[in-house]
């Protein structure tokens, strides 16, 4: 690895963590306003340092381990959730040159790493020795298996159209042609929406947050966790959603491509916008039931994804799609 690659990967990690920290604040503020509330106001100007206060609070708390828990797995699971979520970020290009890992198989690797995030979640649920956590883990596994399929299928649409599995090449292709969501719109837009739905399910977000449905399963897999362990699981969800938004904007919204200014700015802007929309969605909908979630995945998303892949393959053979 060259020095430049090291620097850019550090820069990307810093960007992701900073955006996540302020994403926390932004989400709480946004949610507050949507609920006719003020949101955080006390810590710092307009509550800007609330994430830091949250972090300090979590760090101070005593880590409690249930007596019959599987200690090793119980300790290991929360940091791993955050680690896997952050690993994906390393693959996302933030600029034509600013891609820490510019590899040819970016798309399958991103989906694989995203799917890996399931394993620590399951570890956490299983190790807690708690029935609610176990139910949550079971739901997480089932959900992740189901939604991995449409995620792969919809991610294949830009791969087929751009003719490459390299994320940077896909963005470069969109830079030369159009953003995928703009043209071909009948392929890009549905694929984008399906990708977002599948990504939300992978990241366990409302309306698909059944693994930690707090009104049913208390807190799902994180029921027994306290302090910074809980903090890791909590952080992983945010990073997951944020990175998911980044991947979606890379694949469909043109990534770092913008009419003017530095590419990093455009990437961060698009990601944050998508992130906000996802949270807007989150604070507007109720959650689905586990079986409805499965039905949605297998009866609608998978067939639709297959159809889109076929259509994309056909489209590349037409005179307009070459």
């Amino acid at each position: 690895m060259t020095l430049f690659a090291w620097l850019s990967s550090i820069l990307v990690a810093v960007i992701v963590l900073t955006v996540t920290a302020f994403g926390l604040w932004w989400e709480r503020k946004l949610a507050g306003r949507m609920q006719s509330r003020l949101g955080p106001t006390i810590v710092g100007p307009i509550g800007l340092f609330q994430p830091i206060a949250d972090l300090l609070k979590l760090v101070q708390k005593e880590p409690i381990i249930p007596q019959r828990a599987d200690r090793a797995l119980f300790w290991l699971a929360p940091p791993l959730t955050t680690l896997f979520a952050l690993l994906v970020a390393a693959l996302v290009p933030f600029g034509p040159k600013l891609a820490p890992a510019n590899i040819d198989v970016g798309v399958p690797l991103i989906i694989a790493l995203g799917g890996l995030a399931l394993i620590p979640v399951w570890m956490a649920g299983w190790a807690s020795h708690n029935k609610y956590a176990l139910l949550g883990a079971m739901r997480a596994v089932a959900q992740s298996v189901s939604y991995g399929v449409p995620l792969v299928l919809t991610a294949l649409v830009p791969v087929i159209l751009a003719g490459s599995m390299n994320l940077n090449s896909i963005v470069a292709w969109q830079h030369r042609h159009h953003w995928l969501v703009v043209w071909p719109v009948f392929l890009g837009l549905p694929a984008f929406i399906l990708f977002i739905l599948a990504m939300l399910a992978e990241a366990n977000r409302i309306p698909f947050d059944i693994p930690e449905a707090e009104s049913e399963l208390v807190a799902g897999v994180s029921t027994e966790y306290t302090g910074m362990h809980f903090g890791f699981i909590y952080l992983a969800e945010y990073v997951h959603t944020l990175v998911g938004s980044a991947v979606a904007s890379t694949l469909f919204l043109g990534g770092w491509d913008g009419p003017f200014g530095p590419s990093v700015l455009w990437m961060v802007l698009k990601t944050c916008l998508l992130f906000s929309v996802l949270y807007w969605l989150r604070w507007s909908l109720v959650r689905l039931r586990a079986d409805q979630l499965m039905a949605l995945a297998w009866k609608w998303l998978v067939p639709a994804g297959l159809a889109l892949v076929l259509l994309a393959a056909v489209w590349t053979q037409t005179p307009w799609g070459r």
């Binding site: 946004l30 507050g32 306003r33 949507m34 609920q35 006719s36 509330r37 003020l38 106001t41 929406i193 807007w280 969605l281 604070w283 507007s284 909908l285």
Partner: protein, 183 residues
């Protein structure tokens, strides 16, 4: 497609609410306006001569549903009017178990006990919420007094108030819209 449409409608509704001014306020900085009849804590009053109004009759202690009031009756000469009358030697009101039902205020024959219009009632120790007699008299001077006292409450509940008008029989009951709005 219907799901997407409904989801968009929901998002529109939340966005609409996001534009509206927030309903909540920052509690310690902004206090909500209290209506005139708002009441929380208690105070004991002095009468117009400047003497303690409480005669120690114990009516409030007897009516209290949760029995939080204890009154010790004493008889002595008044320092102001020089007449021998009843006094409360000791008066304690335990707010921790108080129901804030206002019955003690209503039954007081001398309008001695009233409630306060203070915005909140915090206390970090049990002693903060047990009102002894000195504290009750202190409250009279230092805190805003509430609206109600026994005279006002009794006047409001007077069975003869407005009795001049005969009650219309059920057959000739006026239509709801015909009668004027109450004031």
């Amino acid at each position: 497609m219907g799901y997407l449409l409904d989801g968009l409608k929901s998002m529109w509704t939340t966005a609409l609410n996001a534009i509206r001014p927030p309903f909540t306020q920052e509690f310690p900085k902004v206090l909500r306006p209290h209506p005139e009849r708002y009441h929380t804590s208690f105070a004991l009053l002095h009468d117009e001569t400047g003497d303690e109004a409480c005669t120690g009759c114990g009516a409030c202690a007897r009516i209290c549903p949760s029995q939080v009031i204890t009154v010790k009756l004493g008889k002595r000469e008044s320092a102001i009017t020089q007449k021998k009358r009843g006094y409360a030697d000791d008066f304690t009101l335990d707010l921790t178990a108080c129901l804030v039902c206002e019955l003690c205020v209503q039954v007081c024959p001398t309008d001695a006990i009233v409630m306060l219009k203070v915005p909140e009632l915090p206390g970090f120790r049990r002693e903060d919420l047990v009102l002894s007699m000195p504290r009750l008299y202190e409250n009279e001077k230092s805190k805003p007094l509430g609206w109600s006292n026994a005279t006002k409450l009794m006047a409001m509940q007077d069975p003869k108030a407005g009795a001049a008008k005969p009650e219309p029989s059920k057959e000739t009951a006026p239509a709801p819209a015909a009668a004027g709005a109450a004031s």
